[in-house]
């Protein structure tokens, strides 16, 4: 299951989505999430889904790879769906919408990280939110935290897998038995992974200090962000999508 987590993974490529400025993608994600929650009818639901499919095609990330990232959230969603159907009058309809929307949110978020390196996301956040520096918001620190968090996801996932393998060798069973039994088996594992995460974070903080993190008010960048024509086109598409979804919503569609 751990290998199914796509969040924080970068899929190298030169597709249209890979080439976009990270700020464009960071603007698109919340706009897209708002749009899919504006959808109330089958027509608007399909519209949101088709936009996502088009983006996946534009990203050149294999669909199989994208869908793999849905496995873990689907397990949680299925539990929620069963509860909705049992407990609510309109449970089936609510479950279908909930599942569709959450899957779209997960896929769109994965699309951002799969086509944007963590450092680019951080640079995009820093530049995009630079106006907050006026209010003394530590934008650079926040952006660095995001980048480091994304960088740690694959490292800790790998570490958890190694630990699971090591414990399986010594008789632990993470694949069989009831949900409670499996959750209990994961308990000691999570403690070890957390301890390792703190140790790694400590070492990385020292390495960053050694390389003068936080000493400059205006740190430079090897590849400064610049908007291109593709970004302008993408912004027009984003605005059009938002406008269509708002109009459909207000028009009762």
């Amino acid at each position: 299951m751990l290998k199914d987590i796509n969040l924080g993974r970068y899929h190298p490529g030169t597709s249209f989505l890979h080439r976009l400025d990270p700020r464009t993608k960071l603007v698109f994600l919340p706009v897209y999430i708002v749009c899919i929650f504006l959808a109330r009818t089958v027509l608007t639901g399909i519209a949101g889904f088709l936009v996502l499919l088009a983006l996946i095609a534009l990203s050149a990330v294999p669909l199989r790879f994208m869908l793999r990232g849905l496995r873990t959230p689907l397990v949680v969603l299925l539990i929620a769906d069963v509860l909705n159907i049992i407990l609510l009058d309109d449970g089936l309809r609510i479950s279908v919408w909930l599942t569709l929307r959450i899957c779209e949110v997960v896929l769109a978020s994965n699309l951002l990280t799969l086509t944007t390196r963590p450092g680019e996301i951080a640079a995009g956040l820093e530049k995009g939110l630079s106006f907050l520096k006026v209010f003394r918001v530590p934008v650079h620190d926040l952006a660095t935290m995001v980048a480091v968090a994304f960088r740690f996801i694959p490292i800790l996932t790998q570490e958890a897998r190694d630990l699971m393998d090591a414990q399986t060798m010594r008789g632990a069973d993470f694949r069989h038995g009831s949900l409670v039994r499996r959750a209990k088996a994961l308990g000691p594992l999570s403690v070890t992974v957390f301890a390792s995460a703190f140790r790694r974070a400590d070492e990385m903080a020292l390495a960053m200090d050694s390389r003068l993190y936080g000493f400059s008010d205006a740190p430079g960048n090897l590849h400064p962000l610049r908007y291109g024509r593709e970004d302008a086109a993408a912004y027009i598409c984003i605005l059009c999508f938002l406008a269509v979804m708002v109009l459909m919503r207000t028009g009762g569609l």
Binding site: G119, R151, I155, M204, L206, A207
Partner: protein, 246 residues
């Protein structure tokens, strides 16, 4: 030139226990290849962090190319910046010191934090990558490098900051023999050709082949000093001090 006078250090979370360093007096000449050996807990890593101004001594002074850190006065940000730009550091675990998404971005991390203009960041990054033979790997994800390449990357990151001395804190201990040889060969070349001062911290005397002199720490004090020939002649003494020998 690096000079330590009466350097003591006690970790704040261990006020009653033994001091990590108990009065170190040491001079390290420019361009020297110095080995600092010792068993686990002897104070090697504490000394490494003091040399890079990551820790400030509880007592005594540290002088790095004329920049003086005195335990009596809180160092300014500018002083710390200058010391850390002069003394670079490479840590034990290569994975935990990688910050950039690509090899070139990791090397550029230090120069970027120095607030240099874009052209200078590019120039320093290119030069450091070339020096460490990483030019062809510049767009590679650092996580996909071998251990030896990762440590070369860490050295390149330090070089890009304009360091004159580089401290390697057990940096060879997690490498396979090939990676170890690869990093050592690069360090010797940098020492010989570029005049870069190397301070190799290790528990293993084999990491110090080719050094100009070695120092052995024991319980926070300098227990032994010698020249490379002594490494072979005084194996028993070294072993007694917790140093691994061939």
């Amino acid at each position: 030139m690096i000079g330590l006078r009466g350097v003591r250090f006690r970790y704040p979370d261990n006020p009653e226990g033994n001091a990590a360093l108990s009065g170190i007096d040491l001079d390290i000449a420019d361009g020297a290849f110095t080995a600092i050996l010792g068993a686990a807990g002897s104070g090697k890593s504490t000394l490494a962090k003091i040399l890079d101004a990551l820790l400030i001594p509880t007592a005594g002074t540290v002088s790095v190319d004329g920049l003086v850190i005195d335990s009596a006065a809180r160092p300014t940000g500018e002083l710390l910046m200058k010391v850390r730009s002069t003394v670079g550091m490479v840590f034990q675990n290569p994975v935990n010191q990688i910050i950039g998404d690509t090899v070139e971005q990791d090397v550029a991390y230090g120069p970027s934090n120095l607030g240099l203009d874009h052209a200078e960041i590019v120039r320093r990054t290119d030069a450091a990558l070339r020096t460490m033979g990483l030019g062809e790997l510049r767009l590679r994800n650092p996580a996909h490098l071998s251990g030896g390449q990762m440590q070369r990357l860490a050295i390149a990151g330090a070089l890009a900051m304009g360091t004159r001395h580089i401290v390697l804190d057990e940096s060879l201990s997690m490498l396979d023999p090939q990676g170890r040889d690869e990093v050592l060969a690069n360090l010797r070349r940098l020492n010989r050709e570029e005049g870069l001062g190397i301070i190799m911290i290790s528990h293993d005397a084999r990491d110090c082949t080719g050094c100009d002199r070695f120092i052995v720490l024991d319980k926070g004090r300098i227990a032994m000093e010698g020249c490379p020939e002594d490494l072979a002649l005084k194996k028993d003494v070294l072993r007694a001090l917790g140093v691994r020998t061939c």
